[in-house]
């Protein structure tokens, strides 16, 4: 998709600077003109995707400029948003009749400007094509809105091992104020707040360009299926049922936020890639880990390394999905000529023997022995 072009026609350098600042983090091409005549010339030259048009300007004002735009067959389809301090009823009606898409009343905030413009052109934050810009090791902000302080505290306690910050409140008005000061990375909101406040708040979040992709999860008791269905229909990213299983909470939220979780499993030491499988690896975590195997192993080979240690020493119960994961890794290593050694506890080794596919694989009782075997 080409970068959208936005033309601002305004005689005020202050407004032009505010527009530049507002769009600084978005992939847009900005053009400026300081009166209607210059604006028409710039519009004909650039054929922008949107024109932001001031009303009171020297040489040719915004109303005359708009009339000329609408009278020009090559320009009339370009959406125009009027940017004006004059929002009297008659003025708004007059402008609306002339076919403007919207109007922004001065004074305006940068965020208000972005929100309005994003309704007309498809704005993309700079660098949005780069996947997973955040990792689980980043300072993630989790907002919890729940009428019960105990829920906020249980989530805070459940995430205490993460370098994340949990901010909590019991009502949406306070949450909106907190969001204005500090943009969370994910929102958890109780679906049992009065007057369906969770749905309204969700819609408010989605209406803002800044937060339209922010994951929002509902909090609900397991038996409240009606409110869960309603929230899913509204578009929530998911529901976490109460009582909250805090053991899997960080993984659940990491998936919702699409965080890079690879540091949880992978690290390189002495030119060896270590893959650590935690005890109690869930199906979701296994799927998460599996998707990193191919890029990590390729990257290993590209950087001139060729040794992997799969550390299962903490695993005391072998599940089928873990076997799939292990066999997938072994196959990838064979395809890329990577030497792979596996480390496991006695319990793991005994359980592995029960699976025919695993019998050929050697399991070392310690990392030291596995590493030493590379040189044999």
């Amino acid at each position: 998709m080409p970068t959208p072009k936005i033309l601002s026609v305004d005689d005020s350098k202050m407004i032009q600077t505010l527009i530049s600042k507002g769009f600084a983090s978005y992939s847009v091409q900005l053009f400026f003109a300081s009166n209607g005549v210059e604006g028409l010339a710039a519009a004909a030259r650039e054929l922008p995707d949107l024109i932001l048009l001031d009303v009171t300007m020297p040489v040719m004002d915004g109303v005359e400029c708009l009339m000329k735009i609408k009278g020009d067959s090559s320009l009339r389809d370009i959406p125009v948003i009027m940017l004006t301090a004059e929002a009297g009823k008659d003025n708004v009606l007059k402008i609306a009749k002339m076919g403007v898409r919207d109007y922004i009343v001065k004074p305006f905030t940068e965020q208000g400007l972005i929100d309005r413009v994003s309704r007309v052109v498809d704005l993309k934050a700079k660098g949005v094509d780069v996947p997973r810009t955040k990792s689980i090791d980043d300072n993630i902000i989790v907002m919890v809105i729940d009428e019960h302080q105990a829920i906020v505290e249980s989530i805070r306690a459940g995430l205490s091992a993460m370098p994340w910050k949990v901010i909590g409140t019991d009502e949406c008005g306070a949450a909106a104020q907190m969001m204005a000061k500090e943009q969370p990375d994910v929102v958890l909101i109780s679906l049992s707040l009065p007057n369906k406040a969770a749905i309204s708040f969700y819609q408010t979040i989605r209406a803002s360009f800044r937060s339209q992709t922010m994951p929002v999860l509902g909090l609900s008791v397991k038996t409240a299926t009606a409110e869960q269905t309603e929230c899913k229909n509204a578009g929530f990213n998911g529901v976490i049922t109460k009582p909250i299983d805090v053991t899997d909470l960080s993984a659940r939220l990491a998936r919702a936020m699409d965080l890079d979780t690879s540091s949880r499993y992978f690290h390189i030491k002495d030119s060896i890639l270590f893959i650590k499988i935690p005890n109690g690896l869930s199906i979701g975590q296994a799927a998460d880990l599996t998707q990193y195997i191919e890029p990590k192993t390729k990257s290993l080979v590209e950087s001139g390394m060729s040794r992997i240690v799969l550390d299962l020493s903490e695993v005391d119960r072998l599940e089928i999905y873990m076997i799939k994961l292990i066999l997938g890794l072994v196959a990838t290593c064979r395809a890329l000529d990577i030497k792979c050694r596996m480390v496991g506890s006695v319990e793991f080794t005994n359980q592995a023997k029960a699976y025919e596919e695993m019998t050929e694989l050697q399991v070392f009782p310690s990392i030291e022995l596995a590493v030493a075997d590379f040189d044999k």
Binding site: S12, M14, T56, M57, G88, K89, N91, K106, P107, F108
Partner: protein
């Protein structure tokens, strides 16, 4: 009767809070200000013509004008013309918001382009405007004041 002083107080508070995140604390206001009135520093003005006619003046001290420009545009030394532009635009927005209310109240009018004057003592007067009101707005953060002076004539 339309309360121009109240409208101006509200507009000034809204414009400074939204554009500069500054709290403007209004004084008691003087609905019958002296004629001529004196302003100093960086003074913006926008004229109204039509059923509501007159002039709105904004009197910034040099320090306040520079501080507001920095707050709106970001840190750094801003040249005189940029500071003047900020003063002009603030005056335009305050007067534009006033115009909107006047139009809704049955006083259709037009605005002029803002002009900005600089000087140690600027004397302003309008003998044909029966309304002459003035208020001062205090910015605690900068310990500076803004003067707003309105000459107006309302004819339905």
């Amino acid at each position: 009767m339309i309360d121009l002083l109240k409208i101006i107080d509200k507009n000034v508070a809204s414009v400074f809070l939204t554009m500069a995140k500054l709290v403007a604390i209004p004084g008691v206001g003087d609905p019958q200000a002296m004629r001529p009135s004196m302003l100093k520093g960086v003074t913006g003005s926008v004229s109204l013509s039509g059923a509501a006619s007159g002039v709105v003046y904004t009197g910034f001290s040099q320090k306040l004008a520079e501080a507001v420009a920095t707050r709106v545009l970001g840190a750094g030394a801003h040249p005189e013309e940029v500071v003047s532009d900020v003063v002009g635009e603030f005056t335009n927005i305050i007067t534009g918001n006033l115009k909107s209310i006047l139009c809704d109240e049955g006083y259709p009018c037009q605005l002029s382009i803002p002009t900005v004057l600089r000087g140690g003592e600027i004397s302003v007067v309008s003998n044909s405007a029966p309304i002459c009101l003035r208020n001062t707005y205090f910015f605690e953060e900068f310990q500076e004041e803004l003067d707003i002076l309105v000459f107006a004539k309302l004819e339905k």
